[in-house]
Symmetry: C2
Subunit: 273 residues, 2 copies
């Protein structure tokens, strides 16, 4: 049963260093809500119980529940909507849809959430058109370096997707996406082609895997011969390599993505706060 110990007691933090970590009440509540999210008790897009209801359930004050939800909302795991309730964040929603897409056309205005970045999939969404074409989608055994990034054993099954994003007919991003095979069983090129919308929305809806965080490493690299051919640029021309590892609940890596970007007319935007 969900029970909470009043005085500052252990939370679900699993302290990295020494003894067990102790945490305030609101962190324990936070952990309990997180469990509900991770276990699928409340699914993306759905509302979680109201603050008063949760307060009653966990036997704490509304203010404490509030503080727990505040943190989860700050991490974009929950979304508050005044007068309606608190909802589980979803990649299907327009607000958070482009949270992980930092490539923008050069003529776009600055600003973090300034209306209209490039669209993620077929069709336009905000002013710029970015069409996606799946080049291949196949299953194979994980190369050691991919296995390491995804915390799999070397040789375990993975899915490899290769796709080309074009902006106004010009090849702009070539993505190479590695996913753990176990989580993404029925995934195929047809399935990807049939889906209209962000890829992460597909993962979330069809495979119950929600990406909540990602680490990216960027480098400038020279186009190899094959890359150059696929992207219709000169061999050796500079490409922006974006290497991303995405995580679901519990710090679990579930995607390794390498994107090669032509940055003549686009750039990677980042705001430092």
């Amino acid at each position: 049963m969900n029970e909470v110990t009043k005085p500052t007691a252990a939370a679900g933090d699993a302290g990295a260093g020494g003894g067990p970590t102790f945490a305030p009440l609101y962190r324990q509540i936070r952990a309990l809500i997180l469990q509900g999210l991770q276990s699928g008790e409340w699914k993306p897009g759905e509302a979680i119980p109201s603050e008063v209801e949760l307060a009653a359930r966990y036997r704490v004050s509304q203010g404490t529940v509030r503080k727990a939800i505040d943190e989860l909302a700050a991490e974009h795991l929950l979304v508050r909507r005044q007068g309606r309730g608190t909802f589980v964040a979803s990649h299907r929603e327009v607000r958070t849809q482009f949270r992980f897409l930092r490539l923008r056309p050069d003529d776009a205005p600055a600003g973090e959430d300034t209306a209209a970045p490039a669209a993620a999939a077929q069709g336009d969404a905000g002013g710029m058109t970015m069409t996606s074409r799946v080049l291949e989608c196949r299953r194979l055994r994980a190369p050691s370096e991919v296995a390491r990034a995804l915390a799999l054993r070397a040789g375990e099954a993975v899915v490899l997707i290769r796709r080309l994003l074009q902006a106004e007919g010009r090849p702009t991003v070539l993505d190479e996406i590695w996913l753990p095979g176990s989580r993404f069983r029925g995934l195929s090129a047809e399935r990807l082609d049939a889906w209209h919308g962000p890829m992460y929305a597909l993962f979330e809806t069809e495979f119950g895997t929600r990406m909540i965080r990602a680490d990216e490493r960027l480098k400038a690299v020279a186009a190899t011969r094959s890359l150059a051919r696929e992207m219709r640029v000169a061999e050796g021309s500079p490409l922006l390599l974006v290497e991303r590892v995405s995580y679901t609940y519990g710090e679990q890596p579930v995607e390794l993505r390498r994107g090669y970007c032509v940055t003549d007319q686009h750039h990677y935007f980042n705001r430092l706060n």
Copy 2:
């Protein structure tokens, strides 16, 4: 006098669109504290008055002051220290020192604030050594494109700094930094050479200009002949171009920086939340 109107009233937001913007009490308090920071009433590194004191001064409850400070702390403008007080953030402090430095050696562990990124200036700070050499520092009239970025009139005085960062003796970043001449009067190559520590700490301490936010645009570019010579790489080899505009209080741009990075052994790290 600092007086606060109880019912939801206008704050210092200066609404961009339609009529005047209204804001809750804690936002008004936030704006008042912000004024204190901007006016220099409380300087970087110093403590601001305690929560109870501010609550008394502004005639609100401590909880309201607390919420205002919470926001400013989340934006890294203030730093809370339990048992000691609340302090104005400073680039001199180790914690926030490397907030704007995203370039890391490839062998560094991931993680946002994982202990030891590359050091910003002469001497090492955490395991990696990065030495800075000022190539030039001169005053000139702002090219139109620089003037635009810094919100100056074309032809106004600016300072141009060019510096080379080397990691283990290998040229790694060539920075070209443009600053408004009015804010940075006595700035010279000697002054830069004499300073040991992050450049932003110098700006803050000697020129009263604190950078609180920055927007970056990244591209992959080919090394020009002169760049190639200065960085000892082959002409045409790929470089990571990081174009940054930094802002002080009040959304005022005060720095345009272009960094050309060799990313053989380094990468630009970014965490998406």
